[in-house]
């Protein structure tokens, strides 16, 4: 019975952390976006700085009627948001916030993440097809084509990290980044991977991550001016809320993965190992929020890419560059 109890506690804790992080990210997007456009943004909800705006939005969405088009395939239509939500939430099971603060330290951590997060495409296609709406179908197909195109550079960038670390476990990758790289005057220096050879990989990963999230400059799947809202067109009420929350949860998820793989996760150089369980979550969250802010910043300051530019960037630039990166890292791994 203790196994089930432990499982329950882990699931509830993880849900609380992830959903809070998603709500905070929504608020950050509202506020940061407004300030970048010299507006004030949400101001009244909650009394001060409009901090309760995401909660108020959520409460409003939940009250709305849960509509489905008359000709829709209701079962598939109903299940699509759950598939997207599940694939996002499952990623957090292996992300470590400290040496012991991790739901489960899988031997196959990174591989598990890549496998489970590839399921979100399935949910998007289900949503697009079952809505019985041409905007939805075209949006769903565009989204699927884009997610497949950018999943390849993402996977190949991660492969280079796995080669350098020599393990697929997320905890193992963080520990590998604490290995001494060189010594200056008797001081042992360990650097996170972004500073020790993975700068190309990090750039590819972040570009592909923004594309995986279908955010500007890669938001062709839900290009409002031509497709209304793409595969989300027919969704309303609680199901739309799930897609919306899932989108921000996966923003946090991809930032958390990038933090673990490239920025050293819960560790910082010169922090004693005994402090890591205590200070780890704080350090981790600071790094994650920096990357989240970076992605928000890109959204509010970049123009949108055209569909053909988007595809040619993935297939003609990012994938060859990622392959070159793997070759480079492998050579260094063997030579050094």
């Amino acid at each position: 019975m203790s196994f089930l109890l432990e499982l329950g506690i882990k699931v509830i804790l993880m849900l609380a952390v992830v959903l809070t992080a998603a709500l905070v990210t929504i608020y950050a997007e509202l506020k940061a976006g407004s300030h970048m456009q010299t507006r004030i943004g949400p101001y009244y909800a909650g009394g001060k700085w409009g901090w309760a705006q995401p909660l108020a939005d959520g409460a409003k969405f939940i009250q709305k009627e849960d509509l489905a088009p008359a000709k829709a395939d209701r079962t598939v239509f109903g299940f699509a948001p759950y598939v997207v939500m599940m694939s996002t939430l499952a990623v957090f099971a292996v992300i470590p916030m400290g040496p012991d603060i991790v739901a489960t330290n899988l031997d196959l951590g990174v591989y598990f993440i890549l496998a489970i997060s590839s399921l979100s495409v399935l949910g998007v296609l289900m949503a697009g097809w079952s809505s019985a709406n041409k905007y939805s179908l075209i949006g769903g197909l565009r989204a699927a084509a884009q997610l497949i195109a950018y999943e390849l550079p993402l996977v190949l960038a991660v492969v280079a990290v796995v080669v350098q670390a020599g393990t697929m476990s997320m905890n193992g990758i963080v520990e590998a980044q604490q290995a001494t790289l060189f010594t200056i005057g008797g001081v042992e220096v360990a650097l996170p991977y972004i500073l020790s050879g993975q700068i190309i990989g990090f750039t590819i990963f972040m570009i592909a991550a923004v594309a995986e999230l279908s955010r500007i400059p890669f938001d062709m799947p839900i290009a409002e001016s031509e497709l209304t809202m793409g595969y989300l067109t027919e969704y309303s009420g609680i199901r739309f809320t799930m897609f919306f929350l899932g989108e921000y949860a996966s923003l946090v998820a991809l930032s958390a993965i990038a933090t673990t793989l490239y920025l050293g996760g819960y560790a910082v150089p010169f922090l004693p190992e005994s402090m890591e369980n205590f200070a780890g979550p704080g350090i981790f969250l600071i790094k994650v929020s920096f990357l989240v802010f970076l992605i928000i910043w890109i959204r509010w300051t970049w123009p949108r890419l055209r569909e053909d530019q988007l595809q040619s960037m993935a297939w003609r630039w990012l994938i060859p560059l990622a392959l070159f990166n793997i070759a480079l890292i492998s050579v260094f791994k063997v030579v050094l």
């Binding site: 000709k71 829709a72 395939d73 598939v76 899988l106 031997d107 196959l108 591989y111 598990f112 890549l114 496998a115 489970i116 590839s118 399921l119 495409v121 399935l122 296609l125 289900m126 697009g128 097809w129 079952s130 019985a132 179908l137 769903g140 197909l141 699927a144 084509a145 497949i148 697929m168």
Partner: protein, 181 residues
């Protein structure tokens, strides 16, 4: 290796977990061929593949399980769906999907024979013997075997992919031999 009775078999928790996975998998596999909507048939195939992955997880083969999810569900099924949706994907009942008796009977016969052969092979090898608990296969061990003892078969398999790539290029290539349009 002692044999177990059927009553003991039902007492084991793992066997109940097995049944919880196996019956939906079987049901989804049956619906994949009997469903009268092509997209729904593919979605049932997803459920049956997910069940297969869960079986591999139960057997301690985590790498194979997540490969099934990544390659089959995450790539092959998605390409199925894109292919279907780009051409023709009606909602509701599609009457063109069901074939006549002349196709159904050989197909049913073939699957029964296939099932009988695999069932006999498994029964002949294990019978009612209790399998002892074992360590799950680590990815490092799997990689060592794959790239050491089985490296030549592994490379030979990659020729299949090469052939598929060349085939794809040949089909998609613009035909330059004829008159320019």
């Amino acid at each position: 290796m002692e044999a177990v009775s059927l009553a003991d078999w039902f007492k084991e928790v793992a066997n109940w977990a097995f049944m919880v996975i196996a019956f939906p998998t079987l049901f989804a596999a049956w619906r994949t061929v009997s469903s009268n909507n092509i997209v729904r048939a593919v979605l049932y195939l997803v459920i049956s593949l997910a069940g297969t992955a869960a079986m591999f997880l139960m057997l301690g083969a985590a790498f194979v399980a997540w490969t099934v999810v990544l390659v089959y569900i995450g790539a092959v099924i998605i390409l199925f769906l894109i292919g279907i949706m780009i051409t023709r994907a009606p909602l509701g009942v599609d009457s063109d999907l069901s074939h006549g008796r002349d196709v159904m009977l050989p197909a049913a016969l073939l699957s029964i024979v296939l099932f009988a052969v695999t069932a006999w092979a498994v029964w002949d090898a294990f019978g009612m013997i209790m399998i002892q608990p074992f360590e799950p296969t680590s990815t490092a061990d799997l990689a060592n075997v794959l790239f050491d003892r089985f490296v030549i078969p592994f490379e030979v398999v990659s020729f299949v992919l090469l052939a598929a790539l060349i085939g794809g290029i040949t089909l998609a290539r613009r035909d330059n031999t004829g008159a320019k349009r």
